[in-house]
Subunit: 307 residues, 2 copies
C-alpha cells in the first residue's frame, strides 16, 4: 500500500486509536503518526507499545501539520477537543471521528472546524469489549463496515479519500445520513448494550440467587451478555446521553414486544412463543452469510483453551 496521508494525528489511544495505529503501520498508510492521550499513564503505555512516532500531551500539539486527524475519544469529549484543536488544524486537512453517534457529534464539533478543513464524521462498526492502548490490533476493522456521514458541504474528493483510507484499513464503507445512522445504530448496537448492562445488573441484585451462582451457571446463556456489558462505561454513558431519542424509541418498541411475550408466558400461549422463537434463526443465518459472524457454534469459543 502507498502512503495515503503524510502525517496522521490520533487523538485518543484506546481500542480504536491503537488499532488504527497498528493497521496504518502494517499497511504503511502514513509516514508519521502523532498521538495524543489525556492521561500520562496512557501516554507512557502508548510509548512503550510504539503506537506513535511522536506523542503529545495536548491534542492541539498533536494535530499540528497533520493531513488527517482522527478523533478517537468518547463522544461526550468531542466538543471540547474540537474547540481545543480547531485553531491548530492545517488548511486542507481532513478531520474525522469514530464516535458511535453522529448527530450529536456534528452538533458539538462542527462549530469549531475552521474554513478550509474538511470535517467528515465517521463510525467504524468494530470493537471488542476491551479498552485501552494495549487492546488494539491491526485486524479489528477487517471485513467490518465503516459508516461515513458527510455534511452537505463536504467535498466529494475528500470523502473519497477518507473512504479509500478505511478500505485500506480493511473495512467496507457506507455513506449514510447522520440521523439514519443514529437510528440504525440504536437498534444494532446501543439497545443491545443497554439490555446487556441491564441484564447483568438485574442478576447481580437478586436476593434469592447469589452472585456466585450466577457466575457458576452462566454458561446457560447469561455469560454471552456479560461480554458487551464489559465495554468501556464512559464511552457507553456518552452514547446514551447523546443518542437519547433514537434509543428511547427502540426501547419503547422493545418493552412493548417484551410485554407481549410476558403475556404469552403468563397465559401459557405456546403457539405465540413458538412462532416468535422460530423466526430468529433466519436472521442469524443471514448475519453469518453476510460475513459478520462466525458459523462456529458458541462463537467458536469451545475451540479455545478455557479456564
Amino acid at each position: 500500500m502507498t502512503v495515503m496521508f503524510e502525517r496522521v494525528a490520533l487523538i485518543g489511544l484506546g481500542l480504536i486509536g491503537s488499532s488504527l495505529s497498528h493497521v496504518m503501520r502494517r499497511e504503511r498508510l502514513t509516514r508519521h503518526i502523532a498521538g495524543h492521550a489525556r492521561s500520562a499513564a496512557t501516554l507512557t503505555q502508548a510509548g512503550a507499545l510504539g503506537l506513535a512516532d511522536s506523542l503529545h500531551s495536548t491534542a492541539a500539539a498533536a494535530v499540528r501539520d497533520a493531513d488527517l486527524v482522527i478523533l478517537c475519544v468518547p463522544v461526550g469529549a468531542l466538543g471540547a477537543v474540537a474547540q481545543e484543536i480547531g485553531p491548530q488544524l492545517k488548511p486542507g486537512a481532513i478531520l474525522t471521528d469514530v464516535g458511535s453517534v453522529k448527530g450529536a457529534v456534528i452538533r458539538d464539533v462542527r462549530p469549531h472546524v475552521p474554513e478550509g478543513v474538511h470535517f467528515i464524521p465517521g463510525h467504524p462498526i468494530a470493537g471488542t469489549e476491551q479498552s485501552g492502548p494495549a487492546s488494539g490490533f491491526a485486524e479489528l476493522f477487517q471485513n467490518r463496515w465503516c459508516i461515513l456521514t458527510p455534511l452537505p458541504d463536504s467535498a466529494a474528493a475528500m470523502v473519497k479519500r477518507l473512504e479509500a483510507f478505511w478500505q485500506a484499513c480493511g473495512s467496507n464503507v457506507e455513506i449514510m445520513e447522520p440521523e439514519h445512522h443514529d437510528l440504525v445504530l440504536a437498534i444494532t448496537s446501543h439497545l443491545p448494550h443497554l439490555i446487556a448492562y441491564n441484564t447483568v445488573a438485574t442478576a447481580a441484585d437478586l436476593e434469592k440467587v447469589t452472585n456466585s451462582e450466577v457466575i457458576k451457571y452462566s454458561a446457560g446463556g447469561f455469560r454471552d451478555f456479560t461480554r458487551i456489558a464489559a465495554s468501556d462505561p464512559v464511552m457507553w454513558r456518552d452514547v446514551f446521553l447523546n443518542n437519547r431519542d433514537a434509543v428511547l424509541e427502540m426501547l419503547g418498541r422493545f418493552s412493548e414486544d417484551l410485554s407481549a411475550l410476558q403475556r404469552a408466558i403468563r397465559w401459557g400461549d405456546g403457539e405465540t412463543l413458538y412462532r416468535l422463537f422460530d423466526r430468529a434463526r433466519s436472521i442469524r443465518k443471514s448475519i453469518i452469510a453476510a460475513g459478520q459472524e462466525t458459523p462456529l457454534p458458541n462463537f467458536g469459543r469451545n475451540q479455545k483453551p478455557e479456564g
Copy 2:
C-alpha cells in the same frame, strides 16, 4: 475409564443426546447405547453417524434392559415419554433427564416411575445454539456444571453413581433443590434467552431500519444476541411454559431495572448510567476466572476465518 453402566438408553438424539453418545464412547462408559428418536429422519441420521449400538423406533423398546435411561427430549414431552417407558423400565435402573426445568419435570415424570427404579432429575448447563443429531460433540460437557436435583427418597448411592457418570463426561456436579434450580436457571439462562429472542424480534419488525441494515451492522453488538436466539424453538417454548413463575419473577425485576435506566437516559443522568455500567466488568472477570468463559476478546471469534 471403566464401564459404569452395561447398557444406556438415550431417549432423544439431539444436541445433548448425541453429545452424550460421543463422550460415552470416548470414555468407554458403557457397552451398549440404545438410542431412540421420534422422527424417522433423525433415526436414519443417528444411524449414519453411529450414535447408538441399537436404534429403536419407540422409547419403550429403547429402555428395555437399560441400567441408565437418559431422557433428552424437550421438557414438554417428558410426561408422555415417562408414561410410555414406565412399564418397561428395569428394576434397579437409574432414570434421569437433561431438562432445563426441574419442578415441572418432576411433576410430570414422577407419577410414571415404577417402584425400584431410581428417578434422579438432572440438568447439564451446557449447549450451543445448534440442534439435531449432527450437532453433538464429546467435549460439550467439559468443565461445565451439571445440576442434579434428587428427590427426598432418592438413594444416596444411586445419586453418587449418577454424579460419577457426569464427572466421567467432564462435568462438575452440584446437588440442588428443584425449586432453587428453577430460580437460578431463570436468571442465568431462561431470561437471557427470552431477552435475546425479544431483541431479535424487535429489530426484525422496524419500519425505519431495514432487516438488511440490521444484518450488515450487527457487529455493533446485536449479533451476540442472535446466537442464543437461534436455539431450538420447541425446547425453549417448553422451558417458558414450564418455568412460568420463576421467569415472570425475573422478568419483573428486569423490567423494573430497565425502567430506571430508561429514566436515566431520558433525564440525562450520566452518573446513574456510569455507576451501573461500571459494575458489569467485575462479573465478567469472575466468570472468566471461574473457567466458564474464554478470556479472549470477542469470544475469540476474531481469531477464526470469517465470511
